[in-house]
């Protein structure tokens, strides 16, 4: 059975992945240079799935999903199902802003 994220269009995947990489790497290394590096990098959907970055703090992103590449697919699947239930990608990305940038 195909992963739900495969239903995302290529531009949607890229937008979701940019947000997720930014979020995850900021959790892993809370430095502004990381964000500047990510903002300047040309990323495709396959980049994330082929060469996943380290999970935050070297730990599981979620309980129950251990293997890093599986975890990334899982997060993309979560986003896809959220969109199925009416949340826009823009709203989701806004909630994944690095915490220092989150509204108080």
């Amino acid at each position: 059975m195909p992963d739900p994220y495969e239903r995302l269009s290529e531009p949607q995947r890229e937008e979701a992945i940019r947000a997720l990489r930014r979020w995850a790497l900021y959790q892993h290394d809370k430095t502004e240079p990381v964000l500047r590096f990510l903002d300047g990098a040309a990323l495709t959907a396959q980049d994330l799935l082929d060469e996943p970055p380290p999970p935050p703090g070297g730990k599981d992103i979620f309980r129950g999903v251990h293997e890093t590449s599986r975890a990334w697919r899982h997060v993309l699947n979560l986003i896809t199902v959220s969109m199925d239930h009416g949340e826009s990608l823009e709203e989701i990305v806004a909630q994944l802003q690095p915490r220092s940038e989150s509204p108080a």
């Binding site: 059975m1 992963d3 979020w23 979620f62 309980r63 129950g64 999903v65 251990h66 599986r70 697919r73 899982h74 699947n77 979560l78 986003i79 199902v81 959220s82 199925d84 239930h85 989701i92 909630q95 994944l96 802003q97 915490r99 989150s102 509204p103």
Partner: protein
């Protein structure tokens, strides 16, 4: 009616699931028999004396397992070979992945392997939760199983799981910040709950009941 509840409790996520099973056991003390083990032999031994099986732990497409580690060998606790063999068995696997592999396999009639499982409930792929606050998802699973143990059928169990896990999404949205979750963790709580709701499936006889 007898239900064997298998909880390997082999790592933090499996232990969290085990706590959900403990809560369910408190509501149905005479119906549910708990088996906390990582031993296939002990599971096989207890399967023989129980009609139905609830499992709370890790899963793969075709097996319910204790994952391997650096010094621990992967163990298969439940699979087609040991789930078959009892008439009208119902299996509920609170675990990743088995809904699209093990489920259809064990409910399919096979002349070489008689006494197929009557109904199987599981999930299509990974399921997860934010570890700071797993309670909305765990409470939803326990409440749905509580109703099932009290007399519902498999179709009602699946509908109940979907509704209660959708309600868990609302609880993360409404109360996540008050519980100290940052906006990104609130989002993941909501998304995980919706995913549990969206990806639960059953196969076999939907009117089956304990």
């Amino acid at each position: 009616m007898s239900v064997l509840v298998v909880t390997p409790r082999d790592d933090p996520s499996s232990r969290e699931c085990g706590r959900w099973a403990d809560t369910l056991k408190q509501k149905h003390t005479s119906t549910l028999d708990m088996l906390t083990t990582r031993s296939r032999a002990l599971v096989d031994n207890d399967l023989a004396s129980h009609q139905h099986v609830f499992y709370f732990g890790h899963g793969e497409t075709h097996h319910l397992i204790v994952p391997g580690g650096l010094i621990r060998k992967r163990a298969v606790l439940l699979e087609e070979d040991n789930l078959r063999g009892t008439t009208d068995r119902i299996v509920v696997a609170i675990a990743c992945w088995s809904g699209d592999g093990l489920g259809p396999a064990v409910v399919t009639a096979d002349p070489r392997k008689p006494e197929e499982v009557r109904a199987y409930v599981g999930w299509l792929d990974d399921v997860s939760w934010p570890d700071e606050w797993p309670d909305p998802i765990g409470d939803a699973v326990v409440a749905a199983l509580d109703a099932f143990c009290a007399g519902g059928d498999v179709a009602q169990l699946v509908n109940d799981l979907k509704q209660r896990l959708s309600d868990a999404h609302d609880e993360y949205r409404q109360n996540g910040a008050a519980r100290g979750l940052a906006p990104d963790r609130v989002y993941f709580g909501k998304a995980c709950a919706l995913y549990w709701s969206d990806r639960v499936v059953s196969c076999g006889t939907s009117s089956a009941a304990l």
